[in-house]
């Protein structure tokens, strides 16, 4: 974990309320897909946690949805603007050898699955991709995953694009799942599968393990989503937190 100044080199809208921001800076603290960063914005007190969507030497990609004051402000930033970012937070996904695992993302849960897909491919694993959205206008990153030559399935709630329904409709028996998305989606996926990894969200005070703002009960005790997660194994998860 380090606080690093990143310079914006791209910040553009890619779907309804969804923006892609590419930043230049030292990414060496990011080790695994599924990790996140915590972004300081000048007019907000708390930092904003965002998943690493993609990273390489010196470039970081974030995908964010404008939902409130912070993300709305982010969407007004220009190339060249500099952001202070706590980089390399959380543990991220672990690469598990398995035949055709499935990556299941809902809405802004999708971004971390992109870096994960690339990492799986590097490990000679070709995952299946299932993306869920509310509506056609919300769809993003279909092309990016296809460009990795992966099998991409899309579900929309209202059927305006892909299949009408839920991501869970596509899950085959015994697939190892890597999931990220709203809590309701995670729960539904959990019920359909037998093993996998799930990425959780919480309102965070710090993002690096010291405030106990993001605690969650697991089978291996109380865990901090920010530091012990955000990705948890199937076997650890209990749902009684809510």
């Amino acid at each position: 974990m380090r606080d690093i100044n990143f310079k914006i080199i791209e910040n553009k809208k890619i779907a309804r309320d969804i923006y892609k921001m590419i930043l230049a800076g030292d990414t060496s603290d990011i080790k695994n897909p599924g990790q996140f960063v915590n972004v300081k914005l000048p007019f907000q007190y708390l930092r904003r946690p965002l998943s690493v969507c993609d990273y390489n030497d010196g470039e970081l990609t974030l995908i964010y949805k404008t939902v409130g004051s912070g993300t709305n402000f982010m969407s007004t930033l220009k190339n060249g603007d500099v952001l202070s970012i706590l980089s390399g937070l959380g543990n991220g996904y672990e690469i598990i050898k398995s035949d055709e695992p499935v990556l299941i993302g809902g809405g802004v849960g999708i971004p971390p699955l992109y870096a994960l897909a690339k990492r799986l491919i590097e490990n000679n694993i070709r995952p299946e991709i299932i993306l869920g959205f509310n509506n056609f206008e919300d769809v993003f990153f279909e092309e990016e995953f296809k460009a990795l030559d992966l099998n991409v399935k899309i579900a929309t709630l209202d059927g305006s694009y892909g299949s009408k329904g839920l991501v869970t409709d596509f899950i085959k028996n015994n697939q190892y799942a890597y999931a990220c998305g709203p809590l309701a989606m995670l729960k539904a996926v959990y019920k359909k599968i037998h093993d996998g990894q799930f990425s959780f969200e919480a309102r965070m005070g710090c993002g690096f393990g010291v405030c106990m703002g993001c605690s969650m009960k697991t089978n291996s005790g109380f865990k901090r989503i920010c530091t012990d997660g955000p990705v948890f194994k199937y076997s650890e998860i209990i749902w009684e937190n809510d």
Partner: protein, 304 residues
């Protein structure tokens, strides 16, 4: 010019007045990865209770203008675990006495924890949190009542030889009265302030953002209230005051010490900038030089 940053709390000499506040620094392990903790004056560890606690439901955090609300609810592994694991771990990376912040839900619990902490060699001060707004039946109810504060203080003092600091809640009509009760009961010092009781609502769902509805509000927003209380209490008591509430830069430290604080604690600032304490400690000598302060302890309570 060599600036002397040292200060003293009830005989405990600190290299500088900067102490991370309870609940915002864990047990130091995460910070030790990014700087040497030994630059700190001391460390106030996360509030410890007799038994392990998970704390409150999530969400526990809400953002505010210039601050945040938390309702962690004293999550901690319980005093046995803290004594057997966290404190020994901390000792490996921090070679100065720490401040053991303890909470309870009855006088007996406070006494139990104080008695246990009394025996731990790297505990320099016992800080009695009678002011946590996030738990029912204890915490804040103690801190807003003079007699309860007196009772807890007196009971704890009986079982420990270490200096006892009473950490007060700002959510009271008359902070001076409460502080005087603590002093009268034998407190060696006063820590203040804990968080202000606050609330936020999500206007999209019209539900409170915090699962527990209300929570403790801290950060730069509360600084003027904290400063006022430190000023008032310092003028009224004859024991040292540790000042806190919204401190985020060296200027704030100086202002708080001028108001009467012998040392300061830094809370929310650590969450936003993990290097906050380090930066403050580095900035202090430069600022002292600019303000022509040779010995920092000279300014304690200098404001009339």
């Amino acid at each position: 010019m060599m600036i002397d940053l040292s200060t003293e709390l009830s005989g405990l000499k600190l290299d500088n007045p900067v102490i991370p506040a309870s609940g915002t620094f864990g047990y130091g392990l995460e910070f030790a990865k990014i700087y040497d903790l030994n630059i700190l004056g001391s460390i106030s560890i996360k509030g410890t209770t007799k038994d392990a606690r998970f704390g409150n439901k999530l969400p526990r955090i809400a953002e505010c203008y210039a601050g945040l609300i938390n309702s962690v609810g004293l999550q901690n592994p319980g005093i046995d675990h803290v004594i057997n694991n966290e404190l020994p771990e901390l000792r490996k990376i921090f070679n100065k006495p720490v401040i053991a912040n303890i909470s309870g839900f009855s006088v007996d619990e406070y006494v139990y924890c104080a008695e246990r902490m009394d025996k731990i060699s790297n505990v320099g001060i016992i800080e009695i949190n009678v002011s946590c707004p996030n738990v029912h039946g204890g915490g804040i109810t103690f801190g807003s009542d003079c007699e309860k504060v007196f009772e807890v203080t007196q009971a704890v003092k009986k079982v420990t030889h270490k200096p006892v600091y009473i950490k007060l809640t700002p959510n009271v009509t008359d902070i001076v009265k409460i502080a005087l009760s603590a002093e009268e009961a034998g407190a060696d010092g006063i820590s203040l302030i804990n968080t202000l009781l606050g609330m936020r609502i999500d206007i999209k769902t019209h539900r409170p953002i915090i699962a527990n509805k209300t929570g403790g509000f801290s950060g730069p927003a509360i600084f003027p209230v904290a400063l006022r209380m430190v000023y008032q209490v310092h003028k009224a008591v004859n024991i040292p005051v540790i000042g806190m509430g919204g401190i985020s830069c060296a200027e704030d430290v100086i202002e708080m010490m001028m108001a009467g604080a012998s040392a300061v604690q830094i809370g929310a600032a650590n969450l936003i900038d993990p290097l906050a304490c380090k930066k403050i400690i580095e900035d202090l000598p430069k600022l002292c030089e600019r303000l022509k302060i040779q010995r920092l302890s000279d300014i304690i309570g200098i404001t009339d």
